[in-house]
């Protein structure tokens, strides 16, 4: 987490790698400062981020998600927390139009990427997914491809051109924190990697198409603490250059990696977003009693 401690984004939208005169005393302080730095000015780098406006989702007749409005400003990490079945994963899947792959689903509301609705008729869905990448709960490298082919698979799949594939390969694997472990066996099959390595490979694969936003659906739920730590480091590295939304059941993880936290809950009916705010506030002085009960472990 050293990086997020010394890194922030100023109002003109440029990165400052060193911030003087401040020594972060705790993680939540860091998150708060970063949040302030990003929201204070109005001009935000990296586009204007992703906004969900009144999003509903249904599975057949079942109303799974009700009226969620949430802004993800560019360059921030937002954690979605809440008990199972509260609609977090459903919500994240509406953000890059993966929701519609499940048969008999429907949705309502708007999702704006840099101010443009991704559900607008006539929009090219593949272009949307190219800009809003996704990492899944279970590591899912392509079994028929080597490690190197996996990373670069997005180029073939989305029919992109890259001038220097070797450089892109190294860059993506380095950013995903996997380069040193696999640089000597890029031609080996991805199935031989450990679960944590496979998940970082999936992150590298998602990075290769250079998305603006990265959605992560419980990326560490199948991993051991060591691999989890590596991925969290990766997330804080990546947050310098992209917007990240992460679903997690691990509240320490939410506190460690995110700038903002949104709490979702379902009271038996459709899932709703109860509260959103800077992560340190959600964990230290939440406005809603239900949030407090959840983050202090009294239920859920």
């Amino acid at each position: 987490m050293n990086n997020s401690g010394t890194d922030s984004i100023n109002q003109n939208g440029t990165h400052m790698s060193e911030e003087q005169n401040t020594t972060p005393s705790s993680l939540s302080d860091v998150a708060a400062r970063r949040a302030e730095a990003k929201t204070a000015g109005g001009t935000v780098p990296l586009g204007t981020g992703l906004e969900a406006r009144g999003v509903h989702a249904w599975f057949d007749k079942h109303h799974a998600l009700e009226d969620v409005s949430l802004d993800f400003s560019a360059g921030t990490v937002t954690a979605l927390i809440g008990p199972s079945g509260c609609g977090k994963s459903t919500f994240i899947r509406t953000l890059n139009r993966m929701h519609e792959f499940i048969p008999h689903t429907s949705m309502a509301g708007q999702v704006l990427l840099d101010g443009k609705d991704i559900y607008e008729p006539g929009i090219d869905v593949t272009k949307i997914r190219l800009q809003i990448g996704m990492v899944f709960q279970k590591p899912n490298p392509f079994p028929s491809m080597t490690i190197g082919e996996n990373v670069l698979s997005g180029l073939k799949l989305a029919q992109l051109k890259a001038d220097n594939q070797d450089q892109l390969l190294e860059e993506c694997l380095t950013r995903a924190g996997l380069w040193n472990e696999v640089k000597d066996r890029l031609g080996a099959h991805a199935g031989g990697l450990s679960g944590g390595q496979q998940q970082r490979l999936c992150i590298a694969r998602a990075l290769a198409v250079k998305p603006k936003v990265l959605l992560m659906d419980e990326p560490c739920s199948a991993l051991d603490p060591g691999s989890t730590l590596r991925i969290e480091e990766t997330i804080s590295q990546l947050s310098k250059t992209m917007t990240i939304v992460i679903v997690t059941h691990n509240m320490q993880q939410a506190a460690r990696v995110s700038d903002y936290t949104a709490f979702f809950l379902s009271d038996g009916g459709p899932g709703q977003m109860i509260e959103v705010g800077p992560t340190n506030e959600i964990f230290s002085r939440p406005r809603d009693e239900r949030t407090e009960n959840y983050v202090t472990g009294r239920f859920g």
Binding site: T126, M134, P143, K156, A158, A206, V209
Partner: protein, 347 residues
């Protein structure tokens, strides 16, 4: 102070257990011999049946003493499955044995390298061969593969990936098609093409008849292996901005590769020995014909059919030898497909 620990298997059979197993098998053997000798039953199958019956009873008695009626039921179920396995193996091995023992006598260099142009089925063994039939069968299989593998896999992709409006109907038709008797496939091509167009019997028309039989097998097997591809992989592809076509071509099909090869192999296995449809569509021929679109063609199944009908020792011998050749040809194709399929997977 270290003591060396000796690895043991506390769950393994004790010498006493092994003795009891041996005893029950021995007693069952004895019973079967005694029963077969004392009664009018004759033959190997009688020994086999009595042995299993005796073993069911005797071993169950031993188990009853050791672990009660629950153990007996467990043991009976285990014995039944074993019995089923042995029956299947017996059938397979007796077919293999019959083919090899009878067919091998007629195999010689001429049989594999000559045609029957200047020989007849009734000539002494050693004169003439079935190379023309081997080439004809290979040609037919190749034509059937070329048409039905793409067709079957595309149909399977429609059913598993596109899941379009017609999927239910197509699924039903594919299932219905797999029940079509092979002679009907031959008659269909005969009635639809040979009677109605200037085309006359040829390897191509035979290939079409075989395609009718092969497509449902390939489709259904391919469909099953495509369904086994985890949906995570499809989502991963789509989430990177790929179109569905790219995801299927670059992710789903490669992941199902070895299964799709199996689908092809099963399809070939379905048609390799078909005789009836060939009689209507390919005819019979004693020489080489390398034109797939014109003229009758010699094939191994028709050589077998004519040989067995011929009735003389020489012609029947030729039939058995041809069956053996067909078995070996198909076996070689399977092994080749398997090795090719797994080799390029590893890199």
């Amino acid at each position: 102070m270290s003591t060396t620990v000796k690895p043991i298997k506390p769950w393994a059979a004790t010498p006493r257990d092994r003795f009891i197993t041996g005893l029950s098998v021995g007693l069952s053997l004895l019973t079967s011999v005694v029963v077969v000798l004392a009664t009018p039953m004759k033959g190997k199958l009688a020994y086999f049946a009595v042995f299993f019956l005796a073993w069911f009873v005797i071993d169950s008695l031993f188990i009853l003493r050791k672990s009660g009626s629950k153990g007996v039921r467990d043991g009976l179920a285990a014995k039944l499955t074993f019995f089923g396995g042995v029956l299947v193996c017996m059938a397979v091995f007796s077919i293999l044995w019959a083919t090899i023992s009878r067919g091998l006598k007629g195999i010689n260099l001429a049989f594999l390298t000559e045609n029957m142009r200047n020989a007849s089925l009734f000539d002494p063994i050693g004169k003439g061969g079935i190379l023309h039939a081997i080439s004809g069968t290979l040609m037919l299989i190749a034509i059937a593969i070329i048409i039905s593998v793409p067709m079957g896999i595309l149909t399977a992709l429609y059913l598993t990936e596109i899941k379009g409006k017609a999927a239910g109907l197509i699924q039903f038709l594919v299932q219905a098609m797999s029940g079509v008797p092979s002679v009907v496939a031959g008659l269909f091509i005969y009635a639809a093409i040979i009677l109605n167009t200037p085309l006359r019997s040829s390897a191509f028309l035979g290939g079409l008849a075989l395609t009718i039989l092969m497509v449902p097998t390939v489709t259904r097997t391919a469909q099953e292996v495509l369904n086994l591809v985890p949906s995570d992989l499809r989502e991963a592809g789509l989430a990177m901005g790929a179109t569905q076509w790219k995801t299927v071509a670059l992710v789903v099909v490669p992941a199902a590769r070895s299964g799709l090869i199996t689908a092809t192999i099963l399809g070939v296995a379905r048609i390799a020995g078909e005789t009836a449809p060939l009689l209507f569509t390919v005819g019979v021929f004693d020489g080489y014909n390398f034109n797939p679109f014109k003229g009758d063609q010699g094939t191994i199944p028709t050589v077998v059919w004519r040989g067995l009908l011929g009735g003389t020792p020489e012609s029947v011998q030729r039939a058995w030898s041809a069956i053996l050749v067909l078995l070996v040809v198909v076996l070689i194709m399977f092994v080749a497909a398997r090795t090719l399929g797994t080799r390029s997977m590893k890199k």
